[in-house]
């Protein structure tokens, strides 16, 4: 039973970590454009590299 004494706090800590990650994601605007996020995965990554070449 003494295992509970550290297993429960560990479980809680990890849950809390998840909550904080969500709060961070919310505050940094990652939930502002759900439709856009769904479409952006279709964009090709190398577009950003194209830019310095042109400048």
């Amino acid at each position: 039973m003494s295992g509970l004494l550290f297993l429960i706090p560990i479980a809680l800590f990890m849950g809390l970590l998840g909550l904080l990650a969500f709060v961070w994601a919310l505050k940094s605007g990652q939930f502002d454009d759900l439709d856009g996020a769904a479409q952006r995965i279709l964009l090709e990554e190398d577009e950003e590299e194209e830019r310095p070449a042109r400048e």
């Binding site: 998840g18 709060v23 919310l26 454009d33 952006r40 279709l42």
Partner: protein, 758 residues
């Protein structure tokens, strides 16, 4: 206004032909953090990843642009750039060159408090979700422990952990409910949030007490799970309405046009209508919309006032005449002095009427709140009786208190709290996909109860756009000849003529005589197309409707008559509404003859013409006194007070701003069929809401005796609550699955009428 065409391959062409584009410069802000300049644009016609790449890629290649981000959900483009603020113009031009319409806007004005409230709810939801998950983990251990003989010390330890998570979580995530319950109690009545708050507060309080005395049962899990479920419903509900309001605001922002202000040095500059001060003078070109209220200083012309008064015949104006925002200048350019909105203007009168109508309209109490008003006192009395009953029976105050608490928890209106939002979210989402935006929280319930539909004519039953109706004393050949002149003009009637003739050659060297018409030196002499007196020497016969005359040498003058055609499906929609037993009325500000014609062709027996805004409101109130529940459909400035006065109201997206603001819902597109769809979805939603409420009450009737007699342990409470919530939510999803075919125009008669109307 076509904000959401289904295909993406062909971006919409810039439709800024009518009037100048909004000057981007006043919208440029300096970001204090990064010291970059920021410009926000509403972009029309973006749908997919290709649009994102096209726009962002193009902008990032512009000199000075540091970042460009397109938000596909809100159709907003935010650009950060450095250097001169004037670069904003190049940014707007670049987006428009790609084929998307872009209009600058002020983010602070478009967002408001809605977004902040939505974020707060989401945060509460996250906290409640986290707490519910972790507490359930511990609670399941405790429940299992009941069967395998968990020691008292271990159980109490687990209870303490539950309390540690639950108490702060409830204090944080319960705030939206506590606030609403408090304000209801202060106002002297109860709503659904009162019993919710009570249960959510009492359950942990008693559980804490139980934990301290090392008792067997703690209800922390019930309280937090309840909160979690309710927050889901609350958040989705808020988001659906927030999205609808944002969409309406976006449509209005897209339509905003600059007005041409006359500067002291005689030049004109495009500015926002908001930036004008009383006393400024603006120039309104031919075919342009008047952007402000004011008085004509110079010029004689005719105005299309159909959006303001409902009248389809153009109104002549001269120096000194009042003009209103929303009218279209059909004739010569005008110089207009901006006046403040003062007493005595039409707009001030409309606003006064609207406020009065809104005050007189009895406040609609949502079904859920009406149920709560009966439910809350009943439940609380029952809990008190349980407590007193057990005391009287001699069961000891601890058992009595726990039983009373179990009653409160088991009757906590979890399913009841979800019954309405679950259905509304699905209904609103479904309507939104077909271009109908529900703005008001209780609109759906009100739509479901109407028994009378009152239509405005111009712009509602009709398309609001002039089209060629007839050619007098002429042939198709005359039309094609006239169209050669008309194609070079921006005048609305000339455009309608050109549209009727279809594609064809355009004469070169056409001269436009402002306010009169068009002149062209043809091979056989001078051709003229324009108003009576300029293009033809005929006496005024006071014929109804707008007209153009066309004269060529040695030929009789030809008259083109224009009218405002009915929306394609107007007849079918009216027939269907009638077939469903709704009373139909037509209230218009237009002339008798025109209204009579429309009423007859649609088969509307009750109609009134030449009504002032006040008379329209009076008629609606007369209907309300007779016990009728009226749906008002209208689009004009003159309809705004009636929209506010009606039981529930609907307005097309082409309506004036003030009408869209007053209406409970806005529909897009050229058809009238959304009226049917709203009513159909509302009726189905109402039916599902009633089912849900009936189920929740039935569930309570079954569960309450268990609680009263002390059989409800936390485990039973958790199972009962989750099941009832799941049943209610799944039942609501039936609204989404119902076949679309059920919404099509019914009645075979409607088909015949649709055919004849086309």
């Amino acid at each position: 206004m076509n904000a959401a065409s289904p295909t993406c391959a062909v971006p919409t062409a810039p439709s800024g032909a009518n009037g100048a584009a909004i000057e981007a410069l006043p919208y440029v802000r300096r970001d204090p953090k990064s010291d970059l300049l920021r410009l926000d644009l509403v972009v029309e016609g973006v749908h997919c990843a290709a649009c994102i790449r096209r726009i962002e890629g193009r902008l990032k290649r512009l000199p000075g642009v540091k970042d460009a981000r397109l938000n596909l959900s809100s159709r907003r483009l935010s650009v950060a750039f450095e250097g001169a603020p004037e670069r904003a113009r190049a940014i707007v031009t670049a987006v428009e060159e790609l084929g998307y319409r872009a209009v600058p806007f002020d983010p602070a004005r478009l967002e408001g408090a809605d977004a902040a409230a939505e974020k707060e709810l989401l945060l509460c939801l996250a906290v409640a979700g986290f707490a519910a998950g972790n507490i359930m983990l511990l609670a399941v251990s405790v429940w299992s422990g009941h069967f395998v003989g968990m020691g008292e010390a271990t159980r109490t330890l687990l209870h303490w952990f539950e309390a540690l998570i639950a108490l702060p979580a409830i204090a944080f995530a319960g705030r939206p409910f506590f606030r609403s319950a408090l304000s209801a109690l202060r106002a002297g009545h109860t709503n659904m949030d009162v019993p919710i708050s009570l249960a959510v507060l009492l359950a942990p309080a008693v559980s804490l007490f139980e934990t301290i005395r090392m008792g067997e049962h703690a209800y922390f899990d019930s309280a937090v799970t309840l909160l979690f479920f309710l927050l889901i419903g609350r958040y989705l509900d808020r988001r659906a309405r927030g999205a609808a309001r944002a969409a309406v605001a976006r449509l209005l922002a897209l339509r905003a046009q600059a007005v041409m202000r006359l500067e002291p040095d005689g030049t004109t500059r495009p500015v926002r209508p908001d930036d004008l001060a009383p006393g400024d003078e603006i120039v309104v070109a031919t075919g342009e919309r008047v952007g402000v209220d004011g008085a004509v200083v110079e010029g004689r012309s005719e105005l299309d006032t159909s959006l303001v008064t409902g009248e389809t015949v153009p109104q002549p104006v001269e120096p000194g005449s009042r003009v209103f925002a929303g009218t279209v200048n059909l004739g010569a350019p005008l110089r207009v002095r901006v006046t403040a909105v003062g007493e005595g203007t039409l707009l001030a009168e409309i606003v006064r009427l609207m406020e009065a109508a809104e005050q007189r309209r009895s406040r609609f109490v949502a079904l859920a709140d009406r149920v709560a008003r009966l439910y809350a006192p009943f439940v609380h009395t029952l809990a008190a009786l349980t407590f007193l009953g057990w005391l009287w029976w001699g069961a000891g105050w601890h058992f009595a208190l726990m039983s009373a608490l179990a009653v409160l928890i088991i009757t906590c209106p979890c399913a009841l709290g979800l019954a309405v939002p679950a259905v509304q979210v699905i209904a609103a989402g479904r309507l939104m996909r077909s271009g109908i935006l529900i703005k008001s929280a209780t609109a759906l319930e009100r739509f479901a109860r109407i028994d009378t539909v009152v239509f405005d004519k111009t712009g509602t039953l009709t398309s609001g756009q002039m089209t060629l109706a007839a050619i007098d004393h002429g042939t198709q050949e005359d039309l094609e000849a006239a169209a050669m002149l008309a194609r070079s003009s921006r005048h609305p009637l000339a455009r309608a003529l050109a549209a009727a003739a279809g594609p064809g050659p355009s004469a070169s060297g056409v001269e436009e005589v402002a306010g009169m018409g068009l002149r062209w030196h043809g091979p056989d002499g001078e051709w003229r197309l324009g108003r009576r007196g300029f293009a033809a020497e005929v006496p005024d016969d006071d014929a109804p409707g707008a007209e153009l005359w066309f004269t060529r040498p040695n030929r009789p003058s030809v008259r083109f008559r224009f009218h405002d055609p009915l929306r394609l499906d107007a007849a079918a929609v009216v027939a269907t509404l009638k077939a469903r037993g709704l009373a139909i009325e037509l209230l218009s500000g237009d002339r008798r003859a025109t209204v009579a014609g429309v009423a007859q062709s649609l088969g509307i027996a009750r109609w009134q013409a030449e009504l002032s805004p006040a008379q329209k409101v009076a008629r609606l109130e007369e209907l309300a006194r007779a016990g009728r529940k009226v749906l008002m459909v209208g689009d004009g400035l003159n309809d705004a007070p009636s929209l506010a006065a009606a039981y529930v109201s609907l307005s097309p997206a082409s309506a004036v701003d003030i009408a869209q603001t007053a209406a409970d819902a806005v529909f897009q597109g050229k058809r009238l069929a959304p009226v049917l769809e709203v009513l159909e979805v509302a009726r189905r939603a109402e039916w599902l809401v009633r089912q849900n409420i009936a189920f929740s009450i039935l569930y309570n009737l079954c569960a309450v005796p268990l609680a009263v007699f002390g059989y409800v342990t936390p485990l039973v409470a958790a199972i009962a609550m989750s099941t009832s919530s799941l049943v209610v939510v799944s039942n609501s999803f039936r609204l989404q699955w119902s076949a679309r075919g059920a919404l099509a125009l019914d009645a075979p008669a409607a088909k015949g009428r649709l055919g004849s109307a086309v």
